[in-house]
Amino acid sequence: MKKIIVFVSLALFLGSSIVFAQDTTKTKIITTKFKLPSVDVKTIDGATFNTSQLTNDGKPIIISFWALWCTNCIKELKAIQEVYDDWQEETGVKVVAVSIDDAKSVDKVKPFVNGKSWDYQILLDPNKNLYRALNINQIPHTFVVNGNGEVVWQHITYTEGSEEDLYEIVKKVAEGKSITE
């Protein structure tokens, strides 16, 4: 009985939302383009930082979620580091690497990042506030944000060479082109 109620209500909920969405906005309720949520995280020096402050002078931003224990995340960030100078020169893109390391390792993020000579803006999300707000299941999870602060593309996992696809997206976003495949 309970299951039926849950199902019917969910159907009603979604149904009504869609109806109203059509009435009022004429847009899909589930969108692939959305404003980056405003959530408090920390900078690498421990200062509070709200994600609504993330800007890059109208140029694209790559947000990559990682942790010290995530091999593929580190592989992705290393691969980007190799070509980061070129990417920045060509598109002005900025990479923001958000670490979800918790109390076990969060204090080792700064020496690690410096030790690797990474040039990224590092943010810390030990309580996973931003992680949850962006509905992440598992890392690596990478987002591309356009010049208006809207998430326009996202991808999970990292495989060798997929940074090239990421860059294709970044180039399109930098030029203001549509990124639909």
Binding site: T48, D102, R132
Partner: protein, 565 residues
């Protein structure tokens, strides 16, 4: 022991049904968004007596969840539906069921943020409070109640909370309440804003309530814990310290002793471009803190005591994972990360990364309270412990060196060597060697990860690992080969072989040396991932942050879907 959630599913449904009507009535759906995520793990189980894998009567078992999150400006609400009706092996039976154990609504006006329903948060490093979720562990100790956050002034943040913790699909009887204050001096004083030196202090308080139902002992119904912390950074140097004190809290974990608990965590680091050094130490004494004193295992933990050891990424390097001993441990960890520059003598054309890590954890020193009371005797103060004295037992030791180097445009290599000592008796409760009764496993682990890039975003990865030990199940070898067509396809085959197993079973027969092979195909498109695996899974421990779950041996086909939008 626990009661059913008072907020019924029905009420929740009513709420979410009304929501879109309300929002559209105000014409604010324009800016409202719905997002979510989904995951499903299923397995078809095959009997395999060789590895001890059982067949299940249902043939197929599955765990799944879906998160739905609605946000509209400073308002957000969401829920998570979880399905453990056909609970997979390796998860506690109490999880069985379907339901919505997590739902919340939250809004922010000016300086105040109010959250009702379930929430996750932590005070400081979590020594006295951390509510978090880890799906793969099957852990969720979210608090269901009220959470307030108030910005008293610039740089001053106050938090208050009260509620009951999640206990599978029910809630704890015990109540958790607390408050936290944090002062960030550089934000408080405008003249400090651009100062290179940053200074933050914080203090927190947590109290739990649980009825005293003991006919023998007079148990404290309210148990308070306090913590103070300090964060300092100045350019290349960072320092973090937190101390916590917990009042007497007899529990099943500490054998019902009345000794207060305490914990200290300090960590410092020095880093500049190309070099990072970190050093940390901790001491935990009787710090198991749960909203139910009779609970062991994963549920109803109020605080978080992570293990101070490196979380290895290679299977055989993390073959003996250490889990925190909340009744007492002392540990240190040191790590060095060094980047040899591109085009330097040692770095070569592409540079090279080196990391060296050392960690060691042991028992705290314990002595008798007086001549008549044995150490850890129930109903007494338990023991005395000198703060800086180290106990006799070693729990874990790990010295490891890792190198990562790109050899050519298309070829890169990673190497790891690790020397480990592991107290399998204390951590897993069985001997390292049944004939001698030894507690410690000594192991040498070596691993190599070779990645070769082919044309058109294709690549081949070969991973070789070896664990050498004379204890426990003896030596292991492992090889993994992966072919990737980025960004969509990965094909993996892997074999783990227990070739050094000299163990003798209860009937005096030698245990078999087993190949644990698996084959996996994964397909990824944007935020959807589908994977199918066929093969054998050895019995072992899955750990995250020093919390572990036993994974039983299994054979069969598993299927997983992950998605978010």
């Amino acid at each position: 022991m626990t009661k059913k959630s008072k907020i019924t599913t029905g009420k929740l449904i009513l709420l979410i049904c009304i929501l879109p009507f309300l929002s559209s009535a105000q014409g604010v759906l324009n800016s409202g968004q719905i997002h979510g995520s989904f995951q499903m793990d299923a397995q078809f189980y095959v009997e395999d007596s060789l590895i001890g894998a059982e067949k299940v009567p249902e043939n197929v078992l599955m765990n799944a969840f879906a998160n739905i999150l609605y946000t509209n400006g400073d308002f957000s609400a969401g829920f998570r539906f979880e399905s453990y009706q056909h609970l997979m092996k390796g998860f506690v039976g109490e999880l069985k069921g379907n339901g919505i154990p997590y739902r919340f609504a939250s809004y922010k006006t000016d300086e105040l943020k109010v959250t009702i329903g379930n929430f996750y948060d932590q005070f400081g490093t979590g020594l006295i409070f951390r509510a978090y979720q880890d799906w793969n562990l099957g852990l969720d100790n979210s608090v269901d109640g009220l959470h307030l956050q108030y910005q008293l002034a610039k740089g001053i943040t106050l938090k208050g909370l009260i509620g009951n913790q999640r206990y599978y699909f029910e809630k704890s009887d015990g109540i958790v309440r607390g408050a936290d204050a944090e002062f960030a001096f550089n934000e408080m004083f405008p003249s400090w804003a651009d100062n290179k030196a940053r200074f933050t202090i914080g203090g927190s308080f947590i109290s739990k309530f649980q009825e005293d139902d003991s006919p023998i002992y007079n148990l404290p119904e309210n148990v308070a814990a306090f913590a103070g912390r300090m964060n300092f950074s100045c350019g290349k140097i960072n320092f973090l310290g937190e101390y916590a004190y917990k009042m007497n809290d007899p529990s099943l974990v500490n054998n019902y002793i009345y000794k207060p608990g305490e914990a200290l965590y300090v960590s410092t680091s020095f880093s500049q471009k190309g070099l990072g050094i970190s050093l940390s130490g901790k001491r935990i004494d009787n710090m198991s803190f749960r909203s139910d004193r009779g609970m062991t295992g994963m549920p109803l933990m109020i605080n978080y005591l992570p293990a101070l050891s490196k979380q290895h990424i290679y299977t055989l390097a993390s073959f003996y994972p250490y889990s925190t001993q909340p009744n007492g441990e002392m540990g240190i960890q040191a790590e060095l990360t060094y980047n040899l520059k591109k085009k330097s003598a040692l770095g070569g054309k592409y540079g090279m990364d080196i990391s060296v890590n050392y960690s060691r954890t042991g028992a705290i020193q314990k002595s008798k309270v007086n001549d008549t009371i044995a150490i850890d005797q129930t109903g007494t103060l338990g023991y005395k412990s000198k703060f800086f004295a180290v106990g006799d037992d070693l729990y874990q030791n790990d010295f490891n060196i890792g190198i990562s180097k790109k050899l050519s445009k298309n070829f890169q290599i990673e190497l790891l060597y690790s020397y480990q000592i592991f107290n399998i008796w204390v951590v897993q409760g069985h001997k390292a060697d049944d004939t001698t009764g030894a507690n410690l496993v000594y192991a040498n682990v070596a691993a190599a990860d070779l990645i070769y890039k082919l044309k058109n975003k294709k690549s081949i990865q070969l991973e070789l690992q070896h664990l050498s030990t004379k204890k426990d199940q003896g030596s292991w070898a492992m090889a993994m080969l992966q072919y990737t067509i980025a960004p969509k396809w990965t094909f993996t085959i892997q074999d783990m072989y227990n070739y050094g197993n000299e163990k003798v079973d209860d009937f005096g027969e030698k245990e078999p040396k087993i190949h644990y092979y698996t084959m996996t195909v994964a397909y990824i498109k944007n935020t959807n991932r589908f994977a199918i695996t066929y093969g054998k899974q050895r019995e072992g421990m899955f750990c995250a942050g020093g919390v572990c779950r036993v994974v039983p041996a299994s054979n069969g086909i598993s299927f997983s879907i992950m998605s978010s939008f």
